[in-house]
């Protein structure tokens, strides 16, 4: 796909969005019966399921930390999630890298010192990928953590942005990602505006970095509204069941 088609002369992207527009977000919490907290999120066609267990006794005693809770993140991708079927490897390095990125993102946000000698497990299952799997997974994890009642300093909201044709674009889909557009993923603490994670795996001119980060952060703030709404909704319905 040539770069010209990424944004049409009318200023529309391949999927009909405007450059600064997020994809449709659809999320809900408490989708799984066994987990302490769980969430499902769809950002466009990227779908992710998150489950949180804990705080609980660590499965591996050796990993136990005396002053805080241990965060354990597992990230897996369904074999039918993308165009090509991939045979799942037992220890896929790429998946492990993503898991450790997510782990480090949340370690600073979760009040881990509240639960010394315990473990919090975050399991992420990506069901379908259409670009932005990482930030979708982070958003799903935030929802599931809130659902599990794990104390956090703030939400973690993540979003991606890229730069093409002298224009920053928000929330890239698969076609855009694979067109070699520099893509930057940002995880933001919306209240303080602090960035907890920033990932860029291709070349981007330094001058353009600032506007792209700015755009991604704006996306995160929009997503925060969305996530917040979902949580308020589910809390309301939870409150209702308790009051009954």
């Amino acid at each position: 796909m040539s770069r010209l088609e990424i944004i049409s002369p009318e200023g529309l992207r391949v999927d009909g969005r405007r450059p600064l527009e997020l994809r449709r977000v659809n999320s809900r919490t408490a989708v799984l019966s066994q987990a302490d907290g769980s969430a499902y999120i769809e950002q466009g066609n990227t779908k992710c399921l998150a489950a949180v267990y804990g705080p609980r006794e660590p499965t591996k005693r050796a990993a136990l930390l005396h002053d805080r809770a241990l965060i354990n993140v597992e990230y897996s991708v369904a074999s039918f999630s993308s165009g090509e079927r991939k045979q799942k490897l037992r220890r896929d390095r790429r998946l492990m890298e993503i898991a450790s990125t997510i782990k480090r993102t949340f370690e600073n946000v979760i009040l881990t010192t509240t639960f010394p000698r315990s473990e919090i497990d975050i399991y992420l299952q990506v069901l379908q990928i259409d670009g932005g799997a990482l930030h979708t997974a982070i958003n799903a994890a935030t929802l599931a953590l809130v659902d599990a009642g794990i104390p956090m300093t703030d939400y973690v909201c993540a979003c991606s942005a890229g730069y093409v044709n002298n224009q920053a674009i928000l929330d890239l889909n698969y076609l855009e990602e694979s067109a070699e557009i520099p893509t930057l993923t940002v995880a933001l603490l919306p209240k303080s505006g602090k960035i907890t994670m920033l990932g860029l795996e291709s070349r981007l001119h330094l001058d353009k970095l600032e506007p792209v980060i700015q755009l991604a952060s704006d996306g995160c703030k929009q997503l925060k509204e969305n996530i917040d709404a979902t949580i308020r909704e589910s809390t309301k319905s939870l409150a209702k069941t308790i009051l009954q």
Partner: protein, 317 residues
């Protein structure tokens, strides 16, 4: 782990046909079935049982070599299929004019924290093997011959990936239900074979698609759990813990058994075994009817262009 009193409570309940969730011994739970929510897959289906079991099946079709494990260009050299087959007790692909089905059951970590990792591996392997055996046999339903593109070399391979998202008991029945649903939903691109100067070539038209022939004949599974001296269908997690033996029976539309497998750590008397087989067959027939009706509804929904409810089911409340 289950306490003695809990076990006693459930066992006594089963004895008088009253179960913890209000069902009687041979009642199946409410189930929600949806198809086609994974657009990247050739076919998909999700089945949720009332108590939590949540299965997502994605089917991906790909063009591959008829002979397993051997690369296409080497395939026709020096190979003896008969030799390969006699190792397997199951009647595998005997001839070179059939496609293949590869099943793989995987547990999403979210569903399985209650089991030991090794048990999960064993369980997934057992279920994968069971599915492979049932679906690749002559009795599996799917018309494997229709999956052949060029006899002797190329065929469609159906990769059936089962993802267990949540565990609420009775996984195997739900897996088969979802698999049958996903196969109903699967569309294969039409492949046209051309002969040009001695070489056989084929062309795949992505726009024109075909359904999987014979999906209706795919069997469903009914697992019966023996608790005390009685047996129940569609066990919940606690009931599975109380069960001394499990019998899984695969039944197809014609009322024939397609597979029989026992699990669990207890024994069953032969007379009870025969009775359980009969019960399972009847329940299987009812389930098949229920599913066919649900699949028809899904077909109508898709035809009407409505979005699947998906995990966004919260909006229903």
């Amino acid at each position: 782990m289950i306490s003695v009193s809990e076990r006693d409570y459930i066992t006594k309940g089963v004895d008088v046909s009253i179960r913890a969730d209000g069902r009687s011994r041979l009642d199946f739970r409410e189930l929600v079935l949806e198809t086609g929510m994974i657009t990247q897959a050739s076919g998909s289906c999700r089945v949720t049982l009332d108590g939590g079991t949540d299965i997502l099946v994605g089917v991906k079709v790909e063009v591959g070599s008829i002979e397993p494990e051997v690369e296409a260009e080497e395939a026709d050299i020096l190979e003896d299929m008969e030799q390969m087959d006699q190792d397997d007790g199951i009647t595998m692909v005997k001839d070179k004019d059939r496609g293949r089905i590869i099943c793989n059951v995987e547990c999403s970590p979210s569903a399985t924290r209650i089991f030991e990792p090794r048990d999960i591996e064993d369980m997934c392997n057992e279920y994968s093997q069971f599915m492979n055996r049932v679906l690749n046999g002559s009795h599996g339903g799917v018309d494997l011959k229709a999956l052949c593109i060029i006899p002797g070399s190329t065929c469609w391979i159906l990769n059936i990936d089962v993802l267990v998202l949540d565990y609420g008991g009775n996984l195997l029945d739900a897996i088969f239900m979802a698999t049958r649903g996903a196969l109903h939903n699967t569309r294969i691109p039409r492949a046209t074979v051309e002969q040009s100067d001695g070489r056989v070539e084929f062309d795949i038209a992505d726009e024109e698609t075909e359904i999987i022939r014979g999906w209706e004949d795919v069997p469903l599974c009914v697992s019966l759990n023996k608790i005390g001296y009685r047996h129940i269908v569609d066990a919940a997690p606690l009931e599975e813990l109380c069960s001394s033996a499990r019998l899984t029976v695969a039944v197809n539309r014609r009322g024939n058994l397609c597979a029989l497998q026992k699990g669990g750590h207890g024994g069953i008397e032969p007379s009870l075994l025969a009775e359980m087989v009969q019960t399972a067959k009847q329940i299987g027939q009812t389930l098949l009817k229920r599913q066919d009706a649900a699949l028809r509804e899904e077909e109508e929904r898709i035809a009407a262009g409505k979005d699947p409810i998906g995990f966004g089911a919260a909006s229903r409340h």
